[in-house]
Amino acid sequence: MSTTGTYTIADLLSNRDAAEARVIDYTPEALIQPLNDALAAHNAQVQDMMSDLVARTTERTGTYGVQQDAEMVEADEFTRAPTQKGQAKGSVGWPLGKKQFALGWTNDYFIRTTVKDMVEKQILAQRAHVNALRRGVRDALFGPTNYTAYERYDVEAYDQALSIKRLLNADGDPIPINRNAASFNGATHSHYIGTTSTSGAGLNTALMSLVDDVIEHDHGGAVRIYINRAQEATVRALDGFTAYLAPGIIAGITADRAAGTLDTTRLDNRAIGQFHGAEVWTKPWMPAAYYFAFDSSDSRKPLRMREPVERQLRGLRRAAELNTFPLHAQYMEAHFGFGAWTRTNGAILHADAGNGGVYVAPTF
């Protein structure tokens, strides 16, 4: 009985004869399907990778930070209490830009190119897409100052100014009161914090404060702290840290241990233990000397990624010169942009002896 399955890029590459065959000798239909399937899988995978931090949207702007606090008035038989109004609102915007990856071939090249060459080009484009998304997330998270972007892709709102905000950064926007009716001063309350303590008790205190910064805004479901692997040894040495053990290790009967297992198959993308109730993860995209805390279980994500309204323009796509001949494409493109959404769900600590206690924006 013949085997069944779906043809993928892996099949093209593994079949040496087919891989070395020229694209021009095949009908487009025979090649485009596995390429498109691989693109769809790639797009689904990158969305899943970002899903703990980023929600998707097609909106340009949104309201954020409605202050809701009021008092009841002592009244008698004749009192008509005054109407209470003036709920201050903040706003957030999300930019939309376009990134291109040039396939960059001449007609002569296209006539001679092999299936393997074409597949490798797409794999490279997918890699470039991941790099661009990673850079977008990092810029949106770690930059502490708001900025203005101008609408370029929505015809109805062309040239509209969009105010792109960060996590709470003391810009004066109102901050919602928490469920215990505690209020926060939007002009002084910042989630971008600098400390000169890079280890020991000072860093322990600063990290506790970082976790509190997230939880005090009612984001306490599953707080995580993301660190660069360069900080792993420092964090492991903190008094407030309890490590996950590797499989096969049994903790001493009187020793504290965190309820989790260390993933020994990787070093730079794994949970390593608990710090005051927050799970500590190493992440490859975290810059060294920075600590990022947020509630990963909250549906109100720290960031939103804006995509085009048109479904055909979402994700990494082949920008064919003629849609009926999808292989004839000079570029692969992706439309996206990142901005803060739930500004309270995230706080970043920069720990550096030379920063003078001021948060320093990293450069990427």
């Binding site: 215990n180 926060f184 001063n185 971008y192």
Partner: protein
């Protein structure tokens, strides 16, 4: 002790900027240990008190309730815990 600076001022490249990206002067610093008994690590609301520049037990005892409640993130329940922990 870590040097603490006012919130809302950041270093971007070579410039100090506020939250709106406007250039500002370098913030003042408050280095050095304050006089008095430092708040223990497990003191209720410690992080919020320190952020509000109340860093010693003496300062907690001396601060009126209204001043403590005015700090970010402190409401009546936490104030009661603070008063219970501050001692005589």
């Amino acid at each position: 002790m870590a040097t603490i600076k006012e919130g809302g001022v950041y270093k971007v490249g070579d410039q100090f900027q506020n939250a709106k990206g406007e250039k500002v002067s370098a913030p003042r610093s408050t280095a050095g240990a304050p006089e008095g008994t430092a708040l223990p690590d497990d003191f209720p609301g410690r992080a919020k008190l320190v952020k509000g520049k109340i860093t010693t037990l003496e300062a907690v005892r001396a601060a009126p309730d209204a001043d403590i409640i005015a700090l970010d993130g402190i409401a009546e329940t936490l104030l009661q815990q603070i008063r219970a922990a501050q001692g005589a």
